[in-house]
Protein backbone atom coordinates (compact mmCIF):
# COMPACT_ATOMS: atom_id res chain seq x y z
CA UNK A 1 0.00 0.00 0.00
CA UNK A 2 1.31 3.39 -0.94
CA UNK A 3 0.97 6.41 1.27
CA UNK A 4 0.71 10.16 1.17
CA UNK A 5 4.03 11.93 1.66
CA UNK A 6 5.27 15.46 1.78
CA UNK A 7 7.38 14.78 -1.29
CA UNK A 8 4.32 13.71 -3.27
CA UNK A 9 2.55 16.85 -2.12
CA UNK A 10 5.42 19.08 -3.24
CA UNK A 11 5.49 17.33 -6.60
CA UNK A 12 1.76 17.91 -6.97
CA UNK A 13 2.22 21.61 -6.25
CA UNK A 14 4.97 21.75 -8.89
CA UNK A 15 2.79 19.91 -11.34
CA UNK A 16 -0.07 22.36 -10.90
CA UNK A 17 2.03 25.40 -11.73
CA UNK A 18 1.09 27.09 -14.97
CA UNK A 19 1.09 30.54 -16.57
CA UNK A 20 -2.20 31.74 -15.03
CA UNK A 21 -1.14 30.78 -11.50
CA UNK A 22 2.33 32.26 -11.94
CA UNK A 23 0.78 35.48 -13.21
CA UNK A 24 -1.61 35.54 -10.25
CA UNK A 25 1.11 35.10 -7.66
CA UNK A 26 3.29 37.65 -9.45
CA UNK A 27 0.49 40.17 -9.36
CA UNK A 28 -0.69 39.95 -5.75
CA UNK A 29 0.21 43.07 -3.78
CA UNK A 30 -1.39 41.88 -0.54
CA UNK A 31 -4.03 44.58 -0.67
CA UNK A 32 -6.35 42.35 1.35
CA UNK A 33 -9.48 43.13 -0.65
CA UNK A 34 -10.21 39.46 -1.27
CA UNK A 35 -10.89 39.14 2.47
CA UNK A 36 -13.92 41.38 2.07
CA UNK A 37 -15.35 39.06 -0.57
CA UNK A 38 -14.98 35.93 1.55
CA UNK A 39 -17.71 35.00 3.96
CA UNK A 40 -15.23 33.15 6.14
CA UNK A 41 -13.51 36.46 6.81
CA UNK A 42 -16.55 38.73 6.89
CA UNK A 43 -18.40 36.49 9.33
CA UNK A 44 -15.49 35.56 11.60
CA UNK A 45 -13.33 38.68 11.29
CA UNK A 46 -10.31 36.38 11.45
CA UNK A 47 -7.65 37.56 8.97
CA UNK A 48 -6.30 34.02 8.53
CA UNK A 49 -9.32 33.37 6.30
CA UNK A 50 -8.18 35.99 3.80
CA UNK A 51 -8.36 34.04 0.53
CA UNK A 52 -4.85 34.76 -0.67
CA UNK A 53 -3.45 33.79 2.73
CA UNK A 54 -4.86 30.30 2.23
CA UNK A 55 -2.38 29.90 -0.62
CA UNK A 56 0.81 30.53 1.33
CA UNK A 57 2.24 26.98 0.90
CA UNK A 58 1.55 27.02 -2.84
CA UNK A 59 2.91 30.57 -3.08
CA UNK A 60 6.18 29.46 -1.51
CA UNK A 61 6.59 26.68 -4.07
CA UNK A 62 5.96 29.20 -6.83
CA UNK A 63 8.40 31.74 -5.46
CA UNK A 64 11.16 29.31 -4.55
CA UNK A 65 10.96 27.05 -7.57
CA UNK A 66 9.44 29.06 -10.38
CA UNK A 67 11.00 32.52 -10.04
CA UNK A 68 14.56 33.54 -10.68
CA UNK A 69 14.83 35.72 -7.62
CA UNK A 70 13.09 33.11 -5.45
CA UNK A 71 15.72 30.56 -6.45
CA UNK A 72 18.46 33.00 -5.50
CA UNK A 73 16.76 33.58 -2.15
CA UNK A 74 16.56 29.83 -1.59
CA UNK A 75 20.27 29.40 -2.32
CA UNK A 76 20.99 32.16 0.14
CA UNK A 77 18.86 30.39 2.70
CA UNK A 78 16.36 33.23 2.90
CA UNK A 79 13.29 31.16 2.11
CA UNK A 80 10.90 29.44 4.44
CA UNK A 81 10.32 25.81 3.50
CA UNK A 82 7.06 24.07 2.74
CA UNK A 83 7.01 21.28 5.31
CA UNK A 84 4.52 19.02 7.06
CA UNK A 85 4.04 21.55 9.81
CA UNK A 86 3.01 24.24 7.34
CA UNK A 87 0.61 22.00 5.44
CA UNK A 88 -0.94 20.78 8.67
CA UNK A 89 -1.48 24.35 9.82
CA UNK A 90 -2.97 25.37 6.50
CA UNK A 91 -5.24 22.33 5.98
CA UNK A 92 -8.18 23.88 7.89
CA UNK A 93 -7.85 27.08 5.86
CA UNK A 94 -7.75 25.35 2.49
CA UNK A 95 -10.59 22.94 3.25
CA UNK A 96 -12.77 23.99 6.20
CA UNK A 97 -12.32 27.68 5.43
CA UNK A 98 -12.93 27.70 1.68
CA UNK A 99 -15.98 26.59 -0.26
CA UNK A 100 -14.31 27.31 -3.63
CA UNK A 101 -17.20 29.71 -4.15
CA UNK A 102 -15.02 31.99 -6.28
CA UNK A 103 -16.32 35.29 -4.96
CA UNK A 104 -12.76 36.45 -4.23
CA UNK A 105 -11.87 35.80 -7.86
CA UNK A 106 -14.50 38.35 -8.86
CA UNK A 107 -13.13 41.23 -6.79
CA UNK A 108 -9.35 40.92 -6.94
CA UNK A 109 -8.16 44.19 -8.46
CA UNK A 110 -5.24 42.56 -10.25
CA UNK A 111 -7.49 39.76 -11.50
CA UNK A 112 -6.29 36.79 -9.49
CA UNK A 113 -8.56 33.77 -9.78
CA UNK A 114 -7.96 32.79 -6.19
CA UNK A 115 -10.52 30.02 -5.95
CA UNK A 116 -8.98 28.37 -9.00
CA UNK A 117 -5.62 28.49 -7.25
CA UNK A 118 -7.09 26.94 -4.11
CA UNK A 119 -8.62 24.19 -6.21
CA UNK A 120 -5.13 23.52 -7.62
CA UNK A 121 -3.46 23.83 -4.23
CA UNK A 122 -5.73 21.11 -2.83
CA UNK A 123 -3.97 18.69 -5.21
CA UNK A 124 -0.82 19.24 -3.18
CA UNK A 125 -2.56 18.97 0.16
CA UNK A 126 -4.30 15.71 -0.67
CA UNK A 127 -1.13 14.16 -2.12
CA UNK A 128 0.73 15.07 1.07
CA UNK A 129 -2.00 13.51 3.21
CA UNK A 130 -3.48 16.74 4.53
CA UNK A 131 -7.16 16.48 3.69
CA UNK A 132 -9.96 16.36 6.26
CA UNK A 133 -11.16 12.91 7.27
CA UNK A 134 -14.71 13.68 6.22
CA UNK A 135 -13.60 14.33 2.67
CA UNK A 136 -11.23 11.36 2.59
CA UNK A 137 -14.07 9.09 3.66
CA UNK A 138 -16.45 10.61 1.15
CA UNK A 139 -13.87 9.94 -1.58
CA UNK A 140 -13.37 6.35 -0.40
CA UNK A 141 -17.12 5.73 -0.46
CA UNK A 142 -17.47 7.39 -3.85
CA UNK A 143 -14.80 5.17 -5.37
CA UNK A 144 -15.70 1.91 -3.65
CA UNK A 145 -19.47 2.20 -3.26
CA UNK A 146 -20.23 4.64 -6.06
CA UNK A 147 -21.51 7.52 -4.00
CA UNK A 148 -20.00 9.73 -1.32
CA UNK A 149 -23.01 9.12 0.89
CA UNK A 150 -22.76 5.39 0.34
CA UNK A 151 -25.89 5.16 -1.78
CA UNK A 152 -25.88 2.02 -3.92
CA UNK A 153 -28.16 1.30 -6.85
CA UNK A 154 -30.62 -0.79 -4.79
CA UNK A 155 -31.33 2.26 -2.68
CA UNK A 156 -31.98 4.29 -5.82
CA UNK A 157 -34.16 1.50 -7.19
CA UNK A 158 -36.25 1.64 -4.02
CA UNK A 159 -36.66 5.43 -4.42
CA UNK A 160 -37.56 4.95 -8.08
CA UNK A 161 -40.36 2.61 -7.03
CA UNK A 162 -41.69 5.22 -4.62
CA UNK A 163 -41.56 7.95 -7.24
CA UNK A 164 -43.16 5.75 -9.85
CA UNK A 165 -45.94 4.96 -7.40
CA UNK A 166 -46.41 8.63 -6.56
CA UNK A 167 -46.43 9.92 -10.11
CA UNK A 168 -47.73 6.97 -12.01
CA UNK A 169 -44.89 7.49 -14.46
CA UNK A 170 -42.07 5.15 -15.40
CA UNK A 171 -38.51 6.14 -14.52
CA UNK A 172 -36.43 4.69 -17.36
CA UNK A 173 -33.20 2.95 -16.35
CA UNK A 174 -30.39 1.80 -18.63
CA UNK A 175 -32.28 2.55 -21.82
CA UNK A 176 -29.95 2.69 -24.80
CA UNK A 177 -30.21 5.24 -27.60
CA UNK A 178 -32.33 7.85 -25.82
CA UNK A 179 -31.47 11.53 -26.08
CA UNK A 180 -30.79 12.29 -22.44
CA UNK A 181 -29.07 10.56 -19.57
CA UNK A 182 -29.92 12.14 -16.24
CA UNK A 183 -27.57 12.19 -13.28
CA UNK A 184 -28.58 12.59 -9.65
CA UNK A 185 -26.80 13.58 -6.53
CA UNK A 186 -26.94 11.28 -3.51
CA UNK A 187 -28.67 14.04 -1.62
CA UNK A 188 -31.40 14.18 -4.22
CA UNK A 189 -31.82 10.43 -4.03
CA UNK A 190 -32.02 10.33 -0.27
CA UNK A 191 -33.30 13.75 0.80
CA UNK A 192 -35.05 15.27 -2.19
CA UNK A 193 -36.60 12.51 -4.34
CA UNK A 194 -39.03 15.19 -5.53
CA UNK A 195 -36.37 16.11 -8.05
CA UNK A 196 -36.58 12.74 -9.75
CA UNK A 197 -40.37 13.03 -9.85
CA UNK A 198 -40.14 16.50 -11.32
CA UNK A 199 -37.83 15.26 -14.08
CA UNK A 200 -40.21 12.45 -14.97
CA UNK A 201 -43.20 14.77 -15.17
CA UNK A 202 -41.47 17.49 -17.15
CA UNK A 203 -39.89 15.10 -19.65
CA UNK A 204 -43.24 13.36 -20.08
CA UNK A 205 -44.91 16.64 -20.92
CA UNK A 206 -42.33 17.87 -23.37
CA UNK A 207 -41.78 14.45 -24.86
CA UNK A 208 -38.11 13.95 -24.14
CA UNK A 209 -36.58 10.48 -24.18
CA UNK A 210 -34.36 9.89 -21.22
CA UNK A 211 -32.85 7.36 -18.88
CA UNK A 212 -30.99 6.86 -15.67
CA UNK A 213 -28.00 4.55 -15.63
CA UNK A 214 -27.65 1.95 -12.93
CA UNK A 215 -23.86 2.06 -13.18
CA UNK A 216 -23.47 5.83 -13.29
CA UNK A 217 -26.29 7.65 -11.61
CA UNK A 218 -24.17 9.59 -9.16
CA UNK A 219 -23.33 13.08 -10.34
CA UNK A 220 -21.33 14.28 -7.38
CA UNK A 221 -17.57 14.04 -7.48
CA UNK A 222 -15.66 13.86 -4.22
CA UNK A 223 -12.40 13.94 -6.14
CA UNK A 224 -13.10 17.51 -7.26
CA UNK A 225 -13.82 18.54 -3.71
CA UNK A 226 -10.88 16.89 -2.01
CA UNK A 227 -8.75 18.18 -4.87
CA UNK A 228 -7.51 14.97 -6.42
CA UNK A 229 -7.71 14.92 -10.19
CA UNK A 230 -6.92 11.22 -10.16
CA UNK A 231 -9.92 10.35 -8.02
CA UNK A 232 -12.07 12.87 -9.86
CA UNK A 233 -11.06 11.32 -13.16
CA UNK A 234 -12.05 7.87 -12.01
CA UNK A 235 -15.49 9.12 -10.97
CA UNK A 236 -16.07 11.18 -14.11
CA UNK A 237 -14.94 8.32 -16.28
CA UNK A 238 -17.78 6.13 -15.00
CA UNK A 239 -20.27 8.65 -16.33
CA UNK A 240 -18.45 9.04 -19.62
CA UNK A 241 -18.25 5.29 -20.18
CA UNK A 242 -21.95 4.86 -19.32
CA UNK A 243 -23.10 7.75 -21.49
CA UNK A 244 -21.07 6.57 -24.44
CA UNK A 245 -22.27 2.99 -23.96
CA UNK A 246 -25.91 4.11 -23.85
CA UNK A 247 -25.19 6.34 -26.86
CA UNK A 248 -27.04 9.32 -25.41
CA UNK A 249 -26.74 12.75 -26.97
CA UNK A 250 -26.85 14.67 -23.70
CA UNK A 251 -26.00 14.14 -20.08
CA UNK A 252 -28.07 16.21 -17.67
CA UNK A 253 -26.26 17.58 -14.66
CA UNK A 254 -28.68 17.75 -11.73
CA UNK A 255 -29.38 20.47 -9.21
CA UNK A 256 -25.98 20.08 -7.65
CA UNK A 257 -23.28 22.71 -7.90
CA UNK A 258 -19.94 20.97 -7.90
CA UNK A 259 -21.35 18.08 -9.94
CA UNK A 260 -21.84 20.54 -12.76
CA UNK A 261 -18.28 21.82 -12.44
CA UNK A 262 -17.02 18.25 -12.35
CA UNK A 263 -18.87 16.87 -15.33
CA UNK A 264 -19.21 20.01 -17.43
CA UNK A 265 -15.96 21.91 -17.00
CA UNK A 266 -13.34 19.65 -15.43
CA UNK A 267 -14.43 16.28 -16.80
CA UNK A 268 -13.10 16.50 -20.38
CA UNK A 269 -9.76 17.74 -19.05
CA UNK A 270 -9.61 14.97 -16.47
CA UNK A 271 -10.04 12.28 -19.13
CA UNK A 272 -7.94 14.27 -21.57
CA UNK A 273 -10.38 14.49 -24.48
CA UNK A 274 -13.69 16.08 -25.45
CA UNK A 275 -16.84 14.02 -24.85
CA UNK A 276 -18.94 12.36 -27.54
CA UNK A 277 -22.00 13.89 -25.89
CA UNK A 278 -22.96 17.27 -24.52
CA UNK A 279 -23.44 18.13 -20.88
CA UNK A 280 -26.34 20.41 -19.95
CA UNK A 281 -27.44 21.61 -16.59
CA UNK A 282 -31.09 20.84 -15.86
CA UNK A 283 -31.83 24.58 -15.72
CA UNK A 284 -30.19 25.09 -19.09
CA UNK A 285 -32.36 22.36 -20.52
CA UNK A 286 -35.55 23.70 -18.92
CA UNK A 287 -34.87 27.18 -20.18
CA UNK A 288 -34.28 25.89 -23.68
CA UNK A 289 -37.61 24.07 -23.49
CA UNK A 290 -39.30 27.19 -22.17
CA UNK A 291 -37.93 29.56 -24.77
CA UNK A 292 -38.77 27.14 -27.58
CA UNK A 293 -42.30 26.97 -26.22
CA UNK A 294 -42.28 23.29 -25.42
CA UNK A 295 -42.37 23.72 -21.66
CA UNK A 296 -45.77 25.06 -20.65
CA UNK A 297 -46.76 26.04 -17.17
CA UNK A 298 -49.84 27.51 -15.61
CA UNK A 299 -50.53 29.48 -12.45
CA UNK A 300 -48.12 31.45 -10.31
CA UNK A 301 -46.62 31.05 -6.89
CA UNK A 302 -48.11 33.77 -4.72
CA UNK A 303 -45.40 33.58 -2.14
CA UNK A 304 -42.74 36.28 -2.09
CA UNK A 305 -39.63 34.36 -3.07
CA UNK A 306 -36.00 34.83 -3.86
CA UNK A 307 -33.29 32.80 -5.55
CA UNK A 308 -30.06 31.62 -4.00
CA UNK A 309 -27.44 31.38 -6.73
CA UNK A 310 -25.43 28.19 -6.28
CA UNK A 311 -21.83 29.30 -6.80
CA UNK A 312 -20.77 26.45 -9.06
CA UNK A 313 -23.82 26.74 -11.29
CA UNK A 314 -24.05 30.51 -11.56
CA UNK A 315 -20.77 32.28 -10.82
CA UNK A 316 -18.53 29.42 -11.87
CA UNK A 317 -20.91 27.64 -14.21
CA UNK A 318 -22.33 30.40 -16.34
CA UNK A 319 -25.98 29.43 -15.82
CA UNK A 320 -27.05 32.96 -14.91
CA UNK A 321 -30.15 33.97 -16.83
CA UNK A 322 -31.87 30.61 -17.03
CA UNK A 323 -33.06 30.46 -13.38
CA UNK A 324 -34.44 34.01 -13.68
CA UNK A 325 -36.45 33.26 -16.78
CA UNK A 326 -37.77 30.05 -15.28
CA UNK A 327 -38.68 31.72 -11.98
CA UNK A 328 -40.53 34.51 -13.71
CA UNK A 329 -42.48 31.86 -15.53
CA UNK A 330 -44.01 30.53 -12.32
CA UNK A 331 -43.55 33.25 -9.68
CA UNK A 332 -45.44 36.50 -9.35
CA UNK A 333 -43.34 37.99 -6.59
CA UNK A 334 -39.73 37.12 -7.31
CA UNK A 335 -37.21 39.44 -5.68
CA UNK A 336 -33.46 39.41 -6.07
CA UNK A 337 -31.11 39.36 -3.12
CA UNK A 338 -28.93 42.39 -2.57
CA UNK A 339 -25.88 40.60 -3.93
CA UNK A 340 -27.14 38.28 -6.62
CA UNK A 341 -26.20 36.42 -9.77
CA UNK A 342 -22.45 36.11 -10.07
CA UNK A 343 -21.93 38.15 -6.89
CA UNK A 344 -24.20 36.14 -4.60
CA UNK A 345 -22.77 34.77 -1.38
CA UNK A 346 -22.10 31.10 -0.80
CA UNK A 347 -24.32 29.05 1.51
CA UNK A 348 -21.14 28.10 3.39
CA UNK A 349 -21.18 24.39 2.60
CA UNK A 350 -19.79 24.16 -0.92
CA UNK A 351 -16.42 22.83 -2.06
CA UNK A 352 -16.79 19.79 0.16
CA UNK A 353 -17.09 21.77 3.39
CA UNK A 354 -20.43 20.10 4.05
CA UNK A 355 -18.57 16.77 4.26
CA UNK A 356 -16.18 17.99 6.97
CA UNK A 357 -17.69 17.14 10.35
CA UNK A 358 -15.27 19.31 12.34
CA UNK A 359 -16.21 22.36 10.23
CA UNK A 360 -19.84 22.39 11.29
CA UNK A 361 -19.58 25.18 13.85
CA UNK A 362 -17.63 27.35 11.41
CA UNK A 363 -20.12 26.60 8.66
CA UNK A 364 -23.05 27.67 10.80
CA UNK A 365 -21.18 30.82 11.77
CA UNK A 366 -20.56 31.87 8.21
CA UNK A 367 -24.18 31.09 7.35
CA UNK A 368 -24.97 34.39 9.02
CA UNK A 369 -24.12 36.03 5.72
CA UNK A 370 -26.97 34.20 3.96
CA UNK A 371 -29.17 34.81 6.97
CA UNK A 372 -28.74 38.57 6.78
CA UNK A 373 -29.29 38.50 3.02
CA UNK A 374 -32.60 36.76 3.65
CA UNK A 375 -33.57 39.06 6.50
CA UNK A 376 -33.19 42.09 4.22
CA UNK A 377 -35.78 40.65 1.85
CA UNK A 378 -38.46 39.29 4.13
CA UNK A 379 -39.33 36.46 1.76
CA UNK A 380 -41.66 33.52 2.25
CA UNK A 381 -39.74 31.01 0.18
CA UNK A 382 -36.18 30.49 -0.95
CA UNK A 383 -35.62 28.81 -4.30
CA UNK A 384 -32.32 27.33 -5.31
CA UNK A 385 -30.89 24.81 -7.74
CA UNK A 386 -28.35 22.83 -5.75
CA UNK A 387 -29.15 19.98 -3.38
CA UNK A 388 -26.10 20.75 -1.27
CA UNK A 389 -26.96 24.45 -0.94
CA UNK A 390 -30.48 23.39 -0.10
CA UNK A 391 -29.42 21.08 2.71
CA UNK A 392 -26.92 23.56 4.13
CA UNK A 393 -29.44 26.39 4.01
CA UNK A 394 -32.11 24.27 5.68
CA UNK A 395 -29.65 23.45 8.46
CA UNK A 396 -28.70 27.07 8.81
CA UNK A 397 -32.27 28.29 8.90
CA UNK A 398 -33.04 25.72 11.53
CA UNK A 399 -30.04 26.78 13.62
CA UNK A 400 -31.15 30.41 13.50
CA UNK A 401 -34.84 29.51 13.83
CA UNK A 402 -35.98 31.00 10.59
CA UNK A 403 -39.11 29.56 9.04
CA UNK A 404 -38.41 29.81 5.33
CA UNK A 405 -39.06 26.78 3.14
CA UNK A 406 -36.30 25.97 0.65
CA UNK A 407 -37.42 24.63 -2.71
CA UNK A 408 -35.63 23.28 -5.76
CA UNK A 409 -36.39 25.25 -8.91
CA UNK A 410 -36.96 22.15 -11.05
CA UNK A 411 -39.58 20.89 -8.61
CA UNK A 412 -41.26 24.27 -8.57
CA UNK A 413 -41.51 24.24 -12.37
CA UNK A 414 -42.89 20.70 -12.26
CA UNK A 415 -45.61 21.84 -9.85
CA UNK A 416 -46.92 24.22 -12.51
CA UNK A 417 -46.85 21.97 -15.56
CA UNK A 418 -49.84 22.36 -17.85
CA UNK A 419 -51.91 19.22 -18.19
CA UNK A 420 -49.88 17.40 -15.63
CA UNK A 421 -51.80 14.55 -14.06
CA UNK A 422 -51.09 15.93 -10.65
CA UNK A 423 -52.64 19.29 -11.54
CA UNK A 424 -55.68 17.90 -13.27
Amino acid sequence: MSEATLERGLKAFREQMNAPIASFFSSCVNCGMCAEACLFYTETGDPKYTPINKLEPFRRIWEQEYTLWGRVKSWLGLSQPVDDELLEAWEPLVYDGCTLCGRCSMVCPVGNDISYMIRCAREGFVAAGYAPDGMKNASRRAVTIGSPMGVKFPALAAQIKHVEADTGLTIPVDVEGVDYMALLSSMEIMNFPEYMAALARIFKQVGITWTLCSEAFEATNSGIQIGSSDIAKELVNRIVVAAERLKVKYVISPECGHAYTAIRWEGPNLIGRPYNFKVVHILELLEELRSSGRLKTEGYEDARLTFHDPCQIVRKGGVLEQPRHLLNMVASDFVEMNDHREMNWCCGGGGGVSAIERAEALRLKVFKRKKSQLEELNVDTLVTACANCRLIIEEGLEEYRMEIPVVGLTEMIAEHLVGDEKNE
Binding site: M17, A19, S26, S27, T42, T50, L68, V107
Partner: protein, 220 residues
Protein backbone atom coordinates in the same frame (compact mmCIF):
# COMPACT_ATOMS: atom_id res chain seq x y z
CA UNK B 1 36.83 65.42 -6.27
CA UNK B 2 33.59 64.02 -5.01
CA UNK B 3 30.99 66.73 -5.20
CA UNK B 4 27.21 66.66 -5.50
CA UNK B 5 27.73 67.34 -9.20
CA UNK B 6 29.90 64.22 -9.51
CA UNK B 7 27.12 62.30 -7.77
CA UNK B 8 24.52 63.76 -10.12
CA UNK B 9 26.66 62.87 -13.11
CA UNK B 10 27.05 59.32 -11.87
CA UNK B 11 23.34 58.75 -11.34
CA UNK B 12 22.56 60.35 -14.67
CA UNK B 13 25.24 58.32 -16.41
CA UNK B 14 26.45 54.88 -15.26
CA UNK B 15 23.78 54.65 -12.53
CA UNK B 16 21.02 55.13 -15.04
CA UNK B 17 22.61 52.61 -17.42
CA UNK B 18 22.82 49.96 -14.72
CA UNK B 19 19.26 50.58 -13.55
CA UNK B 20 17.83 50.53 -17.05
CA UNK B 21 19.63 47.31 -17.98
CA UNK B 22 18.51 45.54 -14.79
CA UNK B 23 14.98 46.87 -15.24
CA UNK B 24 14.57 45.79 -18.84
CA UNK B 25 16.28 42.42 -18.53
CA UNK B 26 14.59 41.71 -15.19
CA UNK B 27 11.12 42.45 -16.49
CA UNK B 28 11.61 40.36 -19.61
CA UNK B 29 12.85 37.44 -17.53
CA UNK B 30 9.91 37.72 -15.15
CA UNK B 31 7.34 37.97 -17.92
CA UNK B 32 8.80 35.09 -19.89
CA UNK B 33 9.21 32.82 -16.89
CA UNK B 34 5.48 33.29 -16.32
CA UNK B 35 4.26 33.06 -19.91
CA UNK B 36 6.43 30.15 -21.01
CA UNK B 37 4.80 27.98 -18.32
CA UNK B 38 1.71 27.99 -20.53
CA UNK B 39 -1.43 26.06 -19.72
CA UNK B 40 -2.92 22.78 -20.72
CA UNK B 41 -5.47 22.66 -23.51
CA UNK B 42 -9.05 22.91 -22.27
CA UNK B 43 -11.24 20.18 -23.75
CA UNK B 44 -14.48 21.36 -22.16
CA UNK B 45 -16.83 22.76 -24.75
CA UNK B 46 -16.69 26.55 -24.29
CA UNK B 47 -19.83 28.55 -23.69
CA UNK B 48 -18.18 31.83 -24.58
CA UNK B 49 -15.00 33.20 -26.10
CA UNK B 50 -11.82 33.78 -24.14
CA UNK B 51 -10.22 36.69 -25.94
CA UNK B 52 -13.00 39.25 -25.65
CA UNK B 53 -13.94 38.27 -22.11
CA UNK B 54 -10.30 38.48 -21.06
CA UNK B 55 -9.91 41.94 -22.56
CA UNK B 56 -13.15 43.11 -20.97
CA UNK B 57 -12.00 41.93 -17.55
CA UNK B 58 -8.69 43.67 -18.16
CA UNK B 59 -10.66 46.91 -18.32
CA UNK B 60 -13.52 46.26 -15.91
CA UNK B 61 -11.27 45.25 -13.00
CA UNK B 62 -10.09 48.83 -12.94
CA UNK B 63 -13.36 49.63 -11.20
CA UNK B 64 -14.11 47.99 -7.86
CA UNK B 65 -17.00 45.61 -7.36
CA UNK B 66 -19.55 47.81 -5.54
CA UNK B 67 -20.06 45.52 -2.54
CA UNK B 68 -16.34 45.20 -1.93
CA UNK B 69 -15.92 48.94 -2.33
CA UNK B 70 -18.45 49.47 0.45
CA UNK B 71 -16.58 47.06 2.65
CA UNK B 72 -13.10 48.44 2.05
CA UNK B 73 -13.48 52.03 0.85
CA UNK B 74 -10.15 53.14 2.26
CA UNK B 75 -8.10 50.58 0.36
CA UNK B 76 -9.95 51.33 -2.87
CA UNK B 77 -9.94 55.12 -2.65
CA UNK B 78 -6.41 55.28 -1.26
CA UNK B 79 -5.24 52.90 -3.95
CA UNK B 80 -6.80 55.01 -6.66
CA UNK B 81 -5.42 58.29 -5.32
CA UNK B 82 -1.85 57.25 -5.00
CA UNK B 83 -1.74 55.23 -8.22
CA UNK B 84 -3.25 58.09 -10.21
CA UNK B 85 -1.11 60.64 -8.37
CA UNK B 86 1.99 58.57 -9.00
CA UNK B 87 1.24 58.28 -12.71
CA UNK B 88 0.41 61.99 -13.05
CA UNK B 89 3.68 62.91 -11.35
CA UNK B 90 5.59 60.36 -13.40
CA UNK B 91 4.13 60.98 -16.83
CA UNK B 92 2.83 64.56 -16.89
CA UNK B 93 5.72 66.47 -15.29
CA UNK B 94 7.61 68.13 -18.13
CA UNK B 95 11.15 67.20 -16.99
CA UNK B 96 9.99 63.55 -16.88
CA UNK B 97 8.50 63.82 -20.36
CA UNK B 98 11.85 65.15 -21.58
CA UNK B 99 13.52 62.12 -20.03
CA UNK B 100 11.11 59.70 -21.69
CA UNK B 101 11.45 61.53 -24.99
CA UNK B 102 15.24 61.30 -24.79
CA UNK B 103 15.13 57.63 -23.76
CA UNK B 104 12.47 56.14 -26.01
CA UNK B 105 11.53 58.98 -28.33
CA UNK B 106 7.92 59.37 -27.22
CA UNK B 107 6.59 62.73 -26.14
CA UNK B 108 3.29 64.24 -25.07
CA UNK B 109 2.13 67.49 -23.49
CA UNK B 110 2.75 67.98 -19.79
CA UNK B 111 0.79 69.89 -17.20
CA UNK B 112 1.65 72.84 -14.97
CA UNK B 113 4.50 72.08 -12.61
CA UNK B 114 2.71 73.48 -9.59
CA UNK B 115 -0.24 71.21 -10.35
CA UNK B 116 2.10 68.22 -10.40
CA UNK B 117 3.47 69.54 -7.13
CA UNK B 118 0.03 69.48 -5.52
CA UNK B 119 -0.67 66.00 -6.88
CA UNK B 120 2.67 64.76 -5.56
CA UNK B 121 1.86 66.16 -2.12
CA UNK B 122 -1.47 64.32 -2.08
CA UNK B 123 0.28 61.16 -3.29
CA UNK B 124 2.82 61.38 -0.49
CA UNK B 125 0.18 61.80 2.18
CA UNK B 126 -1.85 58.94 0.73
CA UNK B 127 1.17 56.66 0.59
CA UNK B 128 1.85 57.34 4.25
CA UNK B 129 -1.79 56.60 5.02
CA UNK B 130 -1.56 53.36 3.01
CA UNK B 131 1.49 52.34 5.03
CA UNK B 132 -0.35 53.11 8.23
CA UNK B 133 -3.25 50.99 7.02
CA UNK B 134 -0.88 48.15 6.15
CA UNK B 135 0.57 48.28 9.63
CA UNK B 136 -2.76 48.40 11.43
CA UNK B 137 -5.40 46.61 9.37
CA UNK B 138 -5.45 43.01 10.62
CA UNK B 139 -5.67 41.47 7.16
CA UNK B 140 -2.96 43.56 5.59
CA UNK B 141 -0.72 43.21 8.62
CA UNK B 142 -1.04 39.43 8.50
CA UNK B 143 -0.32 39.27 4.78
CA UNK B 144 2.56 41.75 4.73
CA UNK B 145 6.19 40.75 4.88
CA UNK B 146 9.50 42.53 4.27
CA UNK B 147 8.89 42.54 0.53
CA UNK B 148 5.67 44.53 0.96
CA UNK B 149 7.39 47.16 3.06
CA UNK B 150 10.37 47.28 0.71
CA UNK B 151 7.99 47.77 -2.21
CA UNK B 152 6.31 50.58 -0.34
CA UNK B 153 9.62 52.23 0.48
CA UNK B 154 11.03 52.16 -3.02
CA UNK B 155 7.77 53.58 -4.32
CA UNK B 156 7.61 56.28 -1.68
CA UNK B 157 11.20 57.49 -1.99
CA UNK B 158 11.06 58.72 -5.59
CA UNK B 159 7.93 60.74 -4.84
CA UNK B 160 9.42 62.13 -1.65
CA UNK B 161 12.80 63.02 -3.16
CA UNK B 162 11.02 64.44 -6.20
CA UNK B 163 9.01 66.65 -3.91
CA UNK B 164 12.16 67.71 -2.04
CA UNK B 165 13.94 68.40 -5.31
CA UNK B 166 11.09 70.43 -6.74
CA UNK B 167 10.97 72.54 -3.61
CA UNK B 168 14.77 72.58 -3.37
CA UNK B 169 14.53 71.56 0.25
CA UNK B 170 18.02 70.05 0.24
CA UNK B 171 21.04 72.08 -0.84
CA UNK B 172 22.72 72.01 -3.19
CA UNK B 173 20.29 71.12 -5.94
CA UNK B 174 22.54 68.61 -7.74
CA UNK B 175 22.53 66.59 -4.52
CA UNK B 176 18.77 66.44 -4.15
CA UNK B 177 18.26 65.91 -7.88
CA UNK B 178 20.83 63.13 -7.73
CA UNK B 179 19.04 61.58 -4.75
CA UNK B 180 15.79 61.73 -6.65
CA UNK B 181 17.26 60.02 -9.69
CA UNK B 182 19.04 57.48 -7.48
CA UNK B 183 15.78 56.63 -5.73
CA UNK B 184 14.16 56.00 -9.09
CA UNK B 185 17.10 53.82 -10.08
CA UNK B 186 16.67 51.84 -6.87
CA UNK B 187 13.00 51.43 -7.77
CA UNK B 188 13.97 50.22 -11.24
CA UNK B 189 16.47 47.71 -9.88
CA UNK B 190 14.14 46.38 -7.19
CA UNK B 191 11.13 46.37 -9.49
CA UNK B 192 11.58 43.08 -11.37
CA UNK B 193 12.34 41.12 -8.21
CA UNK B 194 9.35 42.14 -6.14
CA UNK B 195 5.59 42.33 -6.36
CA UNK B 196 6.06 45.68 -8.07
CA UNK B 197 5.97 43.41 -11.13
CA UNK B 198 2.20 43.49 -10.75
CA UNK B 199 2.35 46.68 -12.81
CA UNK B 200 2.99 44.38 -15.78
CA UNK B 201 1.67 40.98 -14.74
CA UNK B 202 -1.76 42.31 -13.77
CA UNK B 203 -2.45 42.44 -17.50
CA UNK B 204 -1.76 38.72 -17.82
CA UNK B 205 -3.60 37.91 -14.58
CA UNK B 206 -6.72 39.89 -15.43
CA UNK B 207 -6.78 38.45 -18.90
CA UNK B 208 -6.56 34.86 -17.67
CA UNK B 209 -9.23 35.54 -15.04
CA UNK B 210 -11.58 37.04 -17.60
CA UNK B 211 -10.78 34.38 -20.19
CA UNK B 212 -11.32 31.46 -17.83
CA UNK B 213 -14.63 32.90 -16.64
CA UNK B 214 -15.64 33.97 -20.15
CA UNK B 215 -15.16 30.44 -21.38
CA UNK B 216 -17.83 29.42 -18.89
CA UNK B 217 -20.11 32.23 -19.96
CA UNK B 218 -19.50 34.54 -17.03
CA UNK B 219 -18.12 38.06 -17.24
CA UNK B 220 -15.75 38.25 -14.30
Amino acid sequence: MSTPVDFLLWVRGPGFDIALVVFIIGILIRLLEVLILGRKPDYAEPRGGELGAGLRTLLTRTLPEPGTFKRSPFTVVGGYIWHIGFFISLFLFVPHIELIDATIGLSWPGIASNLVDAVAAVTLVTLVAMLFSRLTHPVKRLLSGPEDYLSWLVTFLPVMTGYLAYHRMIDPYPLVLGLHILSVEILMVVFPFTKLMHAFTFIIARWYNGAMAGRRGVQS
